[in-house]
Amino acid sequence: MEGLEKLGRWGLASIEGLGRSALFLVYTLIGLLQMPFKIRPVLRQIQVIGSGSFLVIFFTGAFVGMVLGLQGYYTLSKYGSSSALGAAVALSLIRELGPVLTALMVIGRTGSAMCAELGIMRISEQIDALDCMAINPYRFLVVPKLLAGLVSIPLLTAVFNLVGIFGGYMVGVVLLHGNAGAYMASMRASVTAVDLKMCFVKSVCFAFLLVWICAEHGFWVNRRPWGFGAEGVSRATTSAVVASSVAVLVADYVITSFML
């Protein structure tokens, strides 16, 4: 009996959470359309998300590309097709690893910070203060983050891919003495506009999802069962990182299955 009650309460809480998230998104989109549009806060957030994550993305991109080069070289040369290394590295990066790993790195670095920032503003009544000043907190706090994410995450993904392809080249060609011309040629022959489109669609969707989920967890931290205070914020942050990472991976599968 008690178990049933628990299940029911959990079910209700989940439904309420979904509704709250949907409303959060609606209010954010309404805030997005409100005039006048202010560019400065967006630029500031681009600086936080974009240039702040650049180095991390650069290094993860480089090492992922290098590992792909290494693994790809040994696997492919077993079948005597090490000339296709360029294609293998570029396609795995552009279609899957670039968008997904960029999104995961940004979640860890910026999504968690976004959630904590909004959560602290909520528990110290700063969001209520905005409400009382008749300043729309969605427009003021969330919209710049969303726009900045939509601009900078696709760009970071491009950086990740570029650096990764170069990393694969360094290992496959320079270190293991593969054929430089074949690396480039196979890449050029196999990467199509469809792959690039998939990469772009994915990175935009992931940006949207991760800002939405992380910001919502912080914004409504007081509506969560763990309640108020520093612990509430820390738990919301953990849960935001987990939820948005899972959402990114699920979305990755869905988008791939639709676009292949």
């Binding site: 110290s124 009544e125 209520d128 009382c132 000043m133 729309n136």
Partner: protein, 261 residues
């Protein structure tokens, strides 16, 4: 008195948090252009009451009429429109902690008025001077003392010339001279602008000179809402008890100081 004289009316407000019943049917009328002080012991629900007027908390039962419209039923643009008239100071001040003092005070001007930046700077400069904060404009809230935060909050609340002021303990944490200054400032600006103000305060003897009405919140209800003179003459045993207790503590602690000297 005609109903039009009241700009805010609370009717039978009930509010519980979980099993704790905080407000048990609060009725309170706030007269336009006057100063109403809400007092009561700590934890009686004064801050909760204020948040009902702001529309931040919705009552379980009862209605909160601001200019005749129930704020607990308003949403979106209509709610925003009512709130443009409020100037608010929270008990915890709620300054934006990642902005400087200057930006905090400038925020309502930048977001809600179309003043050019030079005019904003001039206005904020005047406000800083008035609140005796000159030179602190570049500091962050975490670098201020408690009393300074209160003054920044006051300056921020007054920026857009609101016509309803809601201040939760504006002078707690200020030294007697500063709190006197704050009250004098209220008085002067209220004469000039004629705003309605609702102040939660524990400064019992001091606010007797300032308030037009004093509402005593006790056990989830407003037990008395009268002018200070009426209150002091009141025969209601609860009110008498409250007054003598409050006055008495001031008196006793004075005597203790004398005895120790």
């Amino acid at each position: 008195m005609a109903a039009a004289d009241f700009c805010i009316q609370l009717k039978g407000i009930h509010k519980s948090f979980g099993t704790q019943e905080v407000l048990k049917g609060v009725d309170l009328d706030i007269e336009r252009g006057a100063t109403t002080v809400i007092c009561g012991e700590s934890g009686q629900g004064k801050s909760v009451l204020l948040k009902h007027i702001l529309g931040l908390i919705r009552p379980d039962r009862g209605e909160v009429l601001v200019e005749g419209r129930d704020i607990s039923r308003l949403r979106g643009a209509a709610l925003k429109q009512v709130r443009t008239r409020f100037g608010v100071l929270f008990q915890g001040v709620a300054l934006f902690d990642s902005m400087t003092v200057f930006d905090n005070i400038a925020l309502p001007l930048r977001e809600r008025s179309r003043l050019p930046e030079s005019a904003v700077a001039a206005k904020v400069g005047r406000a800083l001077e008035m609140m005796d904060l000159t030179g602190s404009g570049d500091k962050f809230p975490a670098q201020l003392s408690g009393g300074m935060k209160k003054r920044v909050g006051l300056a921020r609340a007054l920026q857009l010339e609101p016509d309803i002021l809601l201040f939760d303990e504006p002078t707690t944490g200020l030294d007697p001279v500063k709190s006197h200054d704050v009250y004098r400032l209220f008085f002067a600006t209220q004469k000039k602008l004629g705003y309605t103000s609702i102040i939660v305060s524990h400064d019992i003897p001091k606010i007797f000179n300032l308030a037009d009405h004093i509402a005593i919140l006790h056990d989830g209800r407003v037990r008395a809402c009268q002018s200070p003179a009426e209150l002091q003459r009141s025969r209601d045993p609860f009110v008498r008890n409250f007054i003598t207790r409050v006055m008495g503590t001031a008196h006793d602690s004075q005597r203790e100081c004398v005895n120790q000297a």
